[in-house]
């Protein structure tokens, strides 16, 4: 007598298909992807898109207002106090912001992930040491330390990216530590140990895939954080140095004219807002799509 076959599994979608399906239904994710995509394209093709050289000054074309304030289409977003075309500077500024965001967040992601996963996986002394490092890092005032180091080392883009990368890893470490601890306690980790998997393989095949959605979400948050921080440093005059077209620097330069010509700060400010807003929204969307149960 052969026992009956168990009824075949219900046709549920694979995790990847489910995610894709949720993503296509998620309005915020679609909107933010489009905006982000556009900004990336603008940054990549800046030389083709910008009507002028962003560094070229013009004494006769200073402080031209944008079209919506009665300016001409020659300078759609007007010119600044040195007669540089705002639109061109804005377009090149996207490069600065994206580059800083990606590199800084990338560096801190590597540092924070290694720390968080080792703390969560190995526990014990490793965990205590990582927690100590996290506490030290959190105790240091980021803006102050970043400003001080950048002012002592000089404000090149490279240095800013490195300094911020070395400062913004705390959230990666904190979140990945607790996420790893949760995954570590799952029985499939012990099953893998029993099946002779080496530690490196467990970390790579069992732990990492299950914490990666956290990683992506924190990456977007920290990218946004880095972009805002760079703008803040540049605004305070200790970040990217003129004449680089950084949006923060543009706001800082427009500050002098604040009382009369507020468009000079409105335009780069709105660009900055839009970029950070869509990055954050993208991160929220990714979280909704990858871990719908952790939506809150």
């Amino acid at each position: 007598m052969t026992p009956p076959m168990v009824s075949p599994p219900a046709p549920v979608l694979s995790p990847r298909r489910q995610m894709l399906r949720r993503a296509l239904r998620h309005r915020g994710l679609i909107f933010s992807s489009i905006v982000l995509g556009l900004i990336v394209l603008i940054a990549v093709f800046a030389p083709l898109l910008a009507p002028y050289d962003p560094y070229k000054q013009s004494l006769i074309a200073r402080m031209k207002p944008p079209v919506y304030l009665g300016g001409t289409w020659k300078y759609p977003l007007g010119t600044d106090a040195l007669g540089r075309d705002m639109l061109s500077r804005l377009i090149y500024g996207a490069r600065v912001s994206l580059m800083i965001g990606l590199v800084s967040a990338g560096l801190s992601a590597v540092i924070g992930t290694v720390m968080g996963i080792s703390a969560g996986y190995f526990g014990g002394r490793v965990d205590r040491f990582v927690q100590y490092l996290i506490n030290v890092r959190l105790a240091m005032p980021v803006i102050l330390v970043a400003l001080a180091t950048v002012s002592l080392l000089g404000g090149s883009m490279f240095i800013i990216m490195i300094v911020m990368g070395l400062l913004l890893w705390d959230r990666f470490a904190v979140v990945l530590r607790s996420a790893t601890m949760q995954v570590r306690a799952m029985e499939y980790i012990e099953a893998a140990e029993m099946l002779g998997a080496r530690q490196s393989r467990i970390l790579w095949k069992e732990i990492l895939p299950n914490v990666s959605s956290h990683l992506i979400v924190i990456f977007t948050l920290e990218m946004a954080h880095a972009i805002i921080l760079e703008a803040g440093l540049s605004f305070l005059g200790l970040g990217v140095q003129p004449p680089t077209p950084s949006w923060g620097l543009m706001i800082s330069e427009g500050k002098e004219m604040l009382l009369f010509d507020s468009w000079l700060i409105m335009i780069p400010g709105i660009a900055l807002f839009l970029l950070v807003f869509s990055i954050n929204m993208f991160g929220d969307g990714i979280r909704d799509v990858t871990a719908p149960e952790g939506r809150n």
């Binding site: 506490n135 030290v136 959190l138 240091m140 102050l144 400003l147 706001i251 604040l258 809150n296």
Partner: protein, 294 residues
Amino acid sequence: MAALVALTVSIISFALIYMAGDPAVALAGENATPDVVAQIRAQYGYDRPLPVQYLDWLAHALRGDFGTSPYFRLPVSELIADRLEVTMILGVLGISFALLVGVPMGVLAAMRPNSLIDRAALFIAVVGQAIPSFWFGLILIVLFAVNLGWLPASGADSWKGFVLPTIVLGYYATPAIMRLTRAGMIEVLGSDYIRTARAKGVKPRKILFKHALRNAVIPVVSLAAVQMGFMLGGSIVTESVFALHGAGYLAWQSISRNDLPTMQALILIFSLFYIFFTFLADVLNAWLDPRLRK
């Protein structure tokens, strides 16, 4: 742990000035002659071995002596004591603002997840998190000081001068507090013990305030302490936008003038404040949650 962290932070603040190489050169300025540099080196004791310098600095710092500011030509401790008040007032106002807005918004959102209120609150949070604070400060100045003339654009002569800085400092912490309150409340409201309270016939209002809120604010307390620490750091931006002469503004001045002793002292003091706030939060949480008591 806290003591170890404080010690480490002191080492880092001390070491910071060596990052660019010789601090004596940094202090003297780029065009200084070797004689001047040597004189400064001797004056500040930079010619001694590093551990000796550190221990000496720490010993003085513990007595509240951070040396003399080369730029202001005043004792650093006096300078900071003078300026700290404004920053502390601002910090307390800022965190109060964030809590008073963030917690009720989070509770309201959590009571009806996915409702209009919830979506609106989340949207405000995402928008708020994306506005750079220095830019927001400038916009507020244009709107309320320049166009409407209701509030001063700078200075701390009356309470009016604190309104805009408080908003600028507080709004940035609000989304995080709101989200955490919301998440905590949703989790707690779905918990078994809330169901038990309902099964006992406890009135909904009492369930919300007595049973749910107390459990939900425990993580918020920790977050608020962290945010309070961030706010001290953030005061550097706010104070320079509104030209408030607080510790943050002093930090900015000392950094742009290469005033190393002041820079060191401020980083150490801000860090110690952070450590103190988190300690305070731990004490408060132990009072709220008996499981955290030893």
